[in-house]
Symmetry: C2
DNA sequence: CTGAAAGCGCTAACAA
DNA sequence: TTGTTAGCGCTTTCAG
């Protein structure tokens, strides 16, 4: 009964023999290309069925030059942002018959380089990468090799490729202005990324999320005739301990509001605050990037800047598929606007009458079960 | 300056010519196999460098029969459990030089079958799958083909393969007994999976997580001379709406405690409870599987059964690598024990004097920043 | 140690 | 429509 495992796999040649046709005809029937008579096709298909034949994609890829797979290089699949984006990518590319080869870089450039190289060697048909820095050498050579590339979440100055991401600047300015109106003057920004704002020219849009978000923060201060204290930026943080101690530092340094650059950081920030017995928003106001479902479960629910993460991933995937299929005349990808979702983690600065809290826009309606899917309504004018 | 993109990639033949040696020697030097003199090796390496040569892994895989990639088939990479497990898998297999090809099934059997087939066709060297059902046909043929297979999270009755997962039964019984001691008699269990307990023989361990967890629940009742009302099981739930309405149902049906089978469900359950204005634990006690960092951020923090998810993934990856390398005499994988983390979402049943709440074990110590990494200390005896 | 030649399993020309 | 013959880029005999 138990078939001897590991028996040599059948090849087109076997099927051809079994069906009594030439290898080429069998291959054509199996691969669904070329011209094959119905009679032959059915004989071949039947023979293949009988033998349990399965085509060898490797061999197929070798002569077609198409591996039907795309590489996805992210900082960390464990990060909900990347997990969700990857799901979007996966759904999109699978619709076009591609599979996803995944690589984690832990946000390290060296790992990213290695990953890109491996994927290129594996001859993936295209690449989606969330660059961990603005270093572009390895990405440049992807382009040189003529392999389609789409950037995810973060752009790279001077690299002329599609970027699927969001533009949170309007929402960021909006949020910062509300904090300022509430009397906050010392706002801390906490992030894992390094702020390496080395765009080629000043005109070029800020591509690094850190840079653009920090810029938005600064801009909000300027709009109010104030100046943001850059010493309140904590970047390049790795590990919970360093994030927690950054929170400590900032609070000791009189920060009255904290901005977490993603939900992983947000978690730690909130935990650190709770641990220190500081209350949100009474003692410290909090803004978090990425709207994770749990943000509205907390007490108080956390005000966030949401990005349509799944859609961003899906867009990246679709665009990559289009590029691989050499479709031309594709319009540039426009960033999804980020959206400020007001909940209850903003409050006036204590013992500060710096400005009577203006009537801000109303909070998010009571509670919805559906996740805030899809189209953002950014209230920019 | 701008190199004409898309120029034909260099092959070993090119490198050989450039180095003035035979193709075979060049290949040996580049592929690091066979015997090559230092002189030749360095000439070849230099030539390769000069030409920017990159080996074609597809071609390499074709004749070695090893693709250096493993397939990972999960229900949904968006689920934090799978995201983290995948990270573990990825880290483990990369140490052995493998890359991960990822597939999402949305917990649908058809998608799972297709995914497994594609991966087999792509000649992955091994497979890790989190089976969405106990259907084993497609997995069986993986084995038949002699390709190593490791199961993740869920077992399949009658399929003799390694399973990397955890055994939560002790913790589950423990939790249920505490609920019972608090007076709870109607405990609802909410899950996405289907409860298809079709193990071959009664002796066989329960492999489906649903079945084993439900069994643990029932066992706890029996230990107390009671019987769990099976009508309080809500399985096969898809989508937030159906989960929320299951919560509605259960509460209306006098459930005083709710168990969420994973954190995705937990989120929705808690949101639904909040929406209905029901308080945890005053009105409803809550237990959640999987310890997500946010669980301890809530008010009250949620009592959970934690699994070392990363380790589970890492174990799966390591074992798969070992199997691919035909290492033998490997001990069977033992499940990681689940661990009950007491927080504050359990409370006595209101207006019920069914049993004076025993002195239960103390709550988790104040608050730790480090995630509960690694080794579980299950208090089973 | 080195080189020539023969494949891996399939697709792609080219005739017939 | 079919079959024959070459390859894809690499590894692997097998002589030398």
């Amino acid at each position: 009964m138990a078939k001897t495992a590991g028996q040599r796999e059948h090849t087109v040649a076997d099927v051809a023999r079994e069906a009594g046709v030439s290898k080429a005809q069998a291959a054509r029937a199996l691969g669904e290309y070329g011209a094959v008579s119905d009679a032959v096709r059915s004989r071949v298909v039947a023979a293949a069925e009988r033998l349990g034949y399965r085509p060898n994609q490797l061999a197929r890829s070798m002569n077609t030059g198409r591996s039907l797979s795309v590489g996805v290089v992210v900082g960390d699949i464990e990060n909900p942002y990347f997990a969700l984006a990857t799901r979007g990518i996966s759904d999109a590319v699978e619709e076009h018959g591609f599979t996803v080869v995944l690589s984690n870089t832990s946000e390290r450039l060296a790992a990213e380089r290695t990953a890109v190289e491996m994927l290129m060697d594996k001859r993936v048909d295209g690449l989606i990468v969330a660059p961990s820095t603005t270093e572009a050498g390895h990405l440049d050579s992807v382009l040189q090799a003529g392999r389609p590339l789409v950037l995810l979440d973060r752009g790279v100055p001077g690299l002329p490729v599609d970027l699927a991401g969001s533009d949170v600047s309007a929402a960021a300015v909006e949020a910062a202005e509300e904090l300022i109106a509430l009397g906050h003057r010392r706002i801390g920004y906490i992030t894992t990324s390094r702020n390496d704002d080395n765009r080629a020219s000043p005109q070029e849009p800020l591509s690094s999320p850190v840079a653009s978000r920090v810029a938005a923060l600064a801009q909000a201060f300027e709009l109010n005739g104030l100046r943001w204290d850059e010493s309140l930026l904590r970047d390049g943080l790795r590990g919970e301990a360093s994030i927690a101690s950054a929170v400590d530092d900032l609070v000791r340094d009189k920060a009255t509001a904290l901005i977490a650059s993603d939900s992983l950081i947000g978690q730690v920030v909130i935990a650190a605050l709770q641990q220190k017995g500081l209350r949100i928003p009474d003692d410290v106001s909090v803004l978090m990037y990425d709207d994770q479902p749990w943000a509205r479960l907390l007490n108080p629910p956390i005000t966030v800047i949401a990005q349509p993460t799944y859609d961003i991933g899906y867009t990246a995937g679709s665009r990559l598929a289009a590029l691989i299929q050499r479709r031309s005349g594709l319009p540039p990808l426009s960033p999804f606007p980020g959206r400020l979702i007001r909940r209850a983690s903003f409050g006036p600065v204590r013992s500060a009458h710096t400005g009577a809290p203006d009537a801000v826009e109303p909070l998010e309606p009571p509670m919805q079960l559906a996740t805030d899917a899809g189209n953002s309504t950014c209230t920019r004018d």
